[in-house]
Symmetry: C2
DNA sequence: CGCTTAATTGATCAGGGTCAATCGTGGTGG
DNA sequence: CCACCACGATTGACCCTGATCAATTAAGCG
């Protein structure tokens, strides 16, 4: 368990109705977790770690990834508020996770939740839903990775990310170009070039590297087809 | 529901201890399914279909895939004996499935199983396990798709497939080159060239297009790293 | 105000896509 | 039984996209 994660307070002690508790009634996991804060770039867990904890994102963005022996990195998924990540079948992790931005998470004890799930079918159902959500995400990711063109991939990523973090037509990218590249199986240069090209085509505007104004969503959707 | 699937017999009526029932005791889904046979190349379900059925493979190989509007196909996964496929979150399927070879499957009614799962935690747990298995598979697939080289991808596929169907050092490929290509995000030609190169390098032998004799597994594993 | 790191842009190159021809094999029908 | 056909697989030639290498710009931050 990484030292850089600071335990803020037990979730059970939290009285304030914060965002992650917004749907209390439909959230059987509510009372069982511990809130932790993780600074930008910090490790949440690493390949080879024990799998006895898993997490739910309260705020911030998390990347889950795998490293190849030659140093390349494949980002499996970005996780945002409300999403659960970090459960695996085996005892030992095959993936690692880091905070893309400062994050607040709830950590759950796997064994504890499994015990709960045995008694309470609502917990079991919730767990299953989270697993399925992640599965659907991974399958969508496969589709993007299988796509031929770099522009297609970047467009696909933009549209997907826009669904999370668009505000008045402006998407805030929490992650670096390198993160995007590692997510899409491209190089940083290809990502940059695709974005520049979109801007030249008047499809997006880039007020700064982290802000994308969506000018012509349809054009992107045509690309993704 | 495709007409080409012929219902053989209710699973509950099956007395013979066939392979798919081998681990009866650990299989809470055992008594609830219907056995169907699907001929090679036949559709099992299509994008847009209802999700009220899901399946378990008794024998044969199934491909689960998605079609892009321009006709390209991304194969999400190949499923073999013992694997479960075809459950999705929504009411409507986002994926289609076809028989790569003649298949025997058990189909389960989603609603029925969900009712069971509410009463029997063992069923719920089993379902969760299957979902997680598919998740792990999809994540592994992402890793392969993200890889740079064609040879790396093909090597990775061969090693993965060998774990299912190797027999005395010979792997039988149930699928065509096109299937492999669509699974790996390559063209048929690139797959063929990679295999030919492996053969020239003495890493494999290709007695015929569907048989691969593994001569130097280590060399392949080095490629995949 | 420099220093550091991220991002963009340009030039070149190689891997894989594309197009096309050939080979091989299994199935069918004369 | 064999000839032919159809389809999958292989091989070759060429081209294009994206990787690589390198230089420049931009943006935080002490």
């Amino acid at each position: 368990m990484p030292a850089q994660m600071e335990i803020a307070t037990s979730a059970t002690a939290l009285k304030a109705r914060t965002a992650w508790m917004a749907d209390l009634d439909r959230e059987p996991l509510q009372m069982t977790g511990t809130v932790v804060h993780v600074g930008e770039g910090r490790e949440i867990f690493a390949e080879g770690d024990d799998t006895h904890l898993f997490y739910k994102v309260i705020s911030g963005v998390v990347r889950v990834c795998r490293f190849l022996s030659d140093g390349r990195r494949q980002i499996e998924a970005f996780h945002v508020e409300g999403e659960v990540f970090g459960f695996e079948l085996g005892e030992e992790r095959t993936l690692s996770a880091e905070a893309v931005s400062d994050c607040s998470l709830v950590s759950y004890r796997r064994g504890h939740i499994e015990t709960l799930a045995k008694k309470d079918q609502a917990v079991a159902h919730q767990l299953f839903q989270y697993a399925m959500k992640n599965l659907a995400q991974a399958q969508g990711h496969c589709l993007v990775l299988g796509r031929r063109g770099a522009a297609e991939k970047v467009a696909s990523f933009l549209l997907g990310w826009a669904q999370h973090s668009m505000e008045k037509g402006v998407v805030h990218l929490a992650m670096t170009r390198q993160d995007i590249a590692d997510y899409l199986g491209l190089t940083i240069e290809s990502v940059s070039r695709s974005l520049s090209q979109f801007e030249r085509d008047g499809v997006i505007a880039l007020p700064n590297a982290r802000q994308v104004r969506m000018l012509n969503t349809d054009a992107l959707e045509d690309l993704v087809a």
